[in-house]
């Protein structure tokens, strides 16, 4: 961080007095924002604070109602994505825009494949891609298809592509949102490297640790206003959180009495060649046990195994000493085991169906041959209230909800029935904002208090420290440690997780 240009360096990008409203709702109320060459500027805010709108205006996707955008001191006269790109503004959105079946090299040069006599010159394609990757110290094979890459690599490819296309002002919208420590670290390294090369980076993130560690400047939006803009070094996590939330959010681990837990859920000898070897966990009634590992590691096999989604596992499961066969989904649900996916729209909810139907999908009152919509609505109302699902319209399709509300609806769907005795929660706060995260944590705690055995898989050390009673650490497909969380510090857990000297 020491090599960075000083905070007073000439701005490459300057936004002044940006106002944008949609119909009656004002998203931005006069925002000023400055990005300087060679510096990483973090942009933070809760959902709905105006971050996305600001990004859309910057990338040219929407036009501001009023305000000025200057690049290198000259106002942008033209609107639209092409003009933004021509001015050197490049955006990497949260959703990848790569073509999955094509190779890394083709994706890097999408639309501009080098040709000789009108025929694609494949050797040039691969050579150029290889040199691009080498310039950025990226250890990727240009000929690999993107859909076979690991979780973080597509993001790296996309950042590399945008930078190569002449993005001097690079907007990264939560590039590490769904990534674990190792992949996130690779992205951090690439971002630092680009900044050192003179690129201005606008970095949007939910992870406070990341922001504090990575960024030079930080700007925080709340309700369409800039509430804080400062050099990162001169602020603190607590200050940032209180600026984002407005009031200070308490998300500390509340004191929890140590209890003797009667064992409820027992997993013995879970194994799948190449993924996980001999994992055993026991969860007691009212206990929260976390299995943590770096993103992409073997702990992620727990959900597909226990839910019955995939076959090909060795291992035994029992619930209150009764053996369970996970592939017999109906009987394992009947016995009171619930597995809540970390991919809420992919494998958890039915996106087009309404919130009410989703949250009552496993509800005994709703599972009768004939639908009774009034009863279903009543049952849904209870589930929504208990899990804090808030909607603007009475009963929209679940896909229309915000991430946090979707996640709560997901929990409500799988856990609102009466017969739950144990549950697996896969990454229960993935991609949700700080406040929703705190609420979900409270929900999970109350589940445990009601006597449910809670098994948690996560890559988030904060979450584990906040929630768990015990933690099993998985690295490279093996359980390497099991600890009581009370005997552990945050640093110690990070150390176990990442190894090395950190």
């Amino acid at each position: 961080m020491t090599d960075r240009p000083p905070a007073r360096a000439t701005p490459t990008l300057q936004m002044r007095g940006i106002v944008k409203s949609y119909g009656g709702a004002t998203a931005l109320r006069g925002v000023d924002f400055v990005a300087r060459a060679g510096r990483i500027h973090a942009l933070l805010g809760m959902n709905g604070a105006g971050k996305s709108t600001l990004v859309q205006i910057l990338s040219g996707a929407v036009a501001a109602d009023s305000g000025v955008i200057e690049v290198d001191g000259a106002p942008l006269t033209h609107q639209g994505p092409r003009a933004a790109r021509a001015a050197g503004i490049a955006t990497v959105y949260q959703r990848r825009t790569l073509v999955p079946a094509l190779s890394v090299a083709e994706n890097l040069m999408l639309g501009r494949l080098p040709r000789r006599r009108r025929v694609v010159a494949w050797r040039d394609v691969h050579d150029r891609a290889a040199s691009m990757l080498a310039d950025l110290d990226l250890d990727l094979d240009p000929q690999t298809a993107v859909d076979t890459l690991g979780p973080g690599s597509p993001t790296l490819v996309e950042i590399a592509r945008e930078s190569h296309r002449g993005g001097r002002i690079l907007i990264l919208d939560e590039p590490t949102a769904s990534l674990g420590g190792h992949d996130a670290a690779l992205i951090h390294r690439l971002v630092r490297q680009l900044a050192e090369g003179g690129t201005s980076v606008v970095y949007i993130s939910h992870h406070l640790d990341e922001v504090i560690d990575l960024s030079d400047d930080v700007t925080i939006l709340r309700d369409g206003h800039v509430v804080l803009t400062a050099e990162t070094a001169s602020t603190s996590a607590a200050e940032i959180v209180s600026a984002m939330v407005g009031t200070t959010v308490v998300n500390e681990r509340p004191p929890r009495p140590a209890r003797a837990h009667t064992p409820v859920l027992r997993i013995e000898g879970l194994a799948k060649p190449g993924r996980i070897a001999d994992l055993s966990v026991t969860v007691g009634a009212g206990e929260i046990v976390a299995v943590i590992g770096p993103a992409g590691d073997g702990h992620e096999e727990l959900f597909p195994f226990l839910s019955g989604m995939r076959s090909g596992y060795d291992g035994k499961v029992s619930l209150r000493d009764e053996q369970i066969r996970p592939r017999r989904i109906r009987s394992s649900l009947r016995s009171g085991l619930r597995c809540v996916t970390g991919d809420r729209l992919g494998t958890g909810l039915v996106p087009q169906l309404s919130v009410d139907e989703n949250v009552t999908a496993l509800h005994p009152r709703a599972r009768r041959p004939l639908m009774r919509w009034r009863q279903l609505r009543a049952a849904a109302g209870e589930a929504r209230a208990r899990f804090g699902v808030v909607t603007l319209q009475p009963n929209p399709p679940v896909a229309a909800l915000s991430g946090g509300n979707q996640q709560k609806a997901l929990l409500a769907k799988w856990l609102s029935g009466t017969a739950v005795s144990a549950c697996l929660l896969e990454d229960p706060t993935g991609g949700v904002d700080v406040r929703a995260k705190a609420e979900i944590h409270t929900i999970i705690e109350s589940l445990a208090e009601s006597g449910i055995a809670v098994l948690l898989t996560s890559s988030d050390t904060d979450e584990v420290m906040r929630l768990a009673d015990r933690v099993v650490v998985v690295r490279a497909g093996r359980a390497i440690a099991e600890r009581r969380v009370d005997d552990l510090t945050h640093d110690a857990l990070t150390h176990l997780l990442l190894g090395g000297s950190q």
Binding site: L333, V350, Q352, L353, P369, M371, P394
Partner: protein
């Protein structure tokens, strides 16, 4: 927005359902308006009954297909199933079987076809499009074999069904109405129908939620096969004889077109019987109108295609308006 929020259920459920089909309904209405201006006969009761009787068979197939497509299924063999049922039932009647026995055989035959489709799709995991296109080809041939390339007269056993009326409403129309109501009720009011929507919307989530997806899917194909059996009997009652080239793939294409034009998604998770009914009516009205206006034969398929295209575009415009 707040004022709407207060008057929740009933007021909110109907308007979106209507609004969803406003484009298609407008196209249908405009065509009806045009036809009644150009032809004195179009809007008369006998012609309306005539059109409704003509679309009854298509409506029965389309209603069933809507529920199947809700679950992400597709059956390209329905028209060919109808062809075989028409042939076999005519054969049975010709050889002196009782009309009830022959009809039951027809429906059971449809169920068997549906079972084969369903099992191939679920057990071997073959895409429904491929499976049912293949069975459609097999069944088209089977229909020819069943009638040995010759017309087979059904005698008079089914005439009453095909031409009879109660209170001025043809039996065929009544049957179609019952099937449509049944399909709509299934989708809206039964666990079976809601589970179909859940499977079509997210098959993995549905399975993890304890829905027996394969069994459910097979049941849907069987139900569609039985409806194809019913449709075959209805068609035979109208035609009085089985003949080569009856039903088959071209009937199927009309049925699929009606369902898709109605707004049911090809990939499942979203289905509307009301839209299907509008789609069926649109196709029936256009076919009738073409004869009434005596449009030159070379321009007939052009006209039908243009109407379909306009209906599809209008439907899409409505969607875009909402987002």
């Amino acid at each position: 927005m707040n004022s709407i929020g207060l008057s929740r259920t009933t007021t909110l459920r109907l308007p979106p359902a209507l609004g969803r089909h406003a484009g298609l309904a407008a196209v249908l209405l405009l065509i009806c308006l045009y036809l009644s201006l150009r032809s004195e006969v179009f809007a008369t009761t006998p012609n309306v009954v005539n059109v409704l009787r003509q679309v009854a068979v298509m409506a029965v197939l389309a209603a069933g297909l809507t529920v199947l497509m809700a679950a992400g299924g597709l059956d390209f063999s329905l028209g060919s199933q109808v062809a075989v049922v028409v042939a076999v039932v005519a054969r049975l009647l010709e050889s002196g079987a009782h009309v009830v026995v022959a009809s039951i055989c027809g429906v059971l035959l449809g169920a068997v076809f549906g079972l084969v489709n369903g099992l191939v799709v679920t057990v071997f995991n073959v895409a429904p499009f491929v499976t049912t296109l293949a069975t459609a080809t097999v069944l088209d041939g089977a229909a020819l074999i069943a009638m040995q390339g010759q017309s087979v007269s059904a005698g008079g056993a089914l005439t009453e069904l095909g031409t009879g009326e109660v209170l001025g409403i043809p039996y065929l129309l009544l049957i179609a109405a019952v099937v449509i109501a049944g399909a709509a009720a299934t989708l809206r009011w039964t666990r079976f129908g809601r589970d179909a929507l859940a499977i079509g919307g997210n098959a993995v989530a549905a399975r993890l939620g304890g829905i027996a997806v394969p069994r459910h899917t097979v049941a849907l194909y069987v139900a569609n096969g039985m409806l194809a059996g019913l449709a075959g009997i209805m068609l035979l009652s109208r035609l009085g004889a089985a003949s080569p080239g009856t039903a088959g793939l071209h009937l199927e294409l009309t049925v699929v077109a009606a369902v898709v034009i109605g707004g049911t998604a090809l990939h499942g998770g979203n289905a509307t019987v009301a839209g299907t009914v509008l789609g069926v009516l649109l196709l029936g009205v256009v076919a009738n109108g073409i004869n009434l206006l005596q449009i030159d034969s070379f321009y007939q398929s052009v006209s039908v295609g243009v109407v379909l295209l306009v209906a599809a575009v209008v439907n899409q415009l409505r969607h875009r308006g909402r987002h």
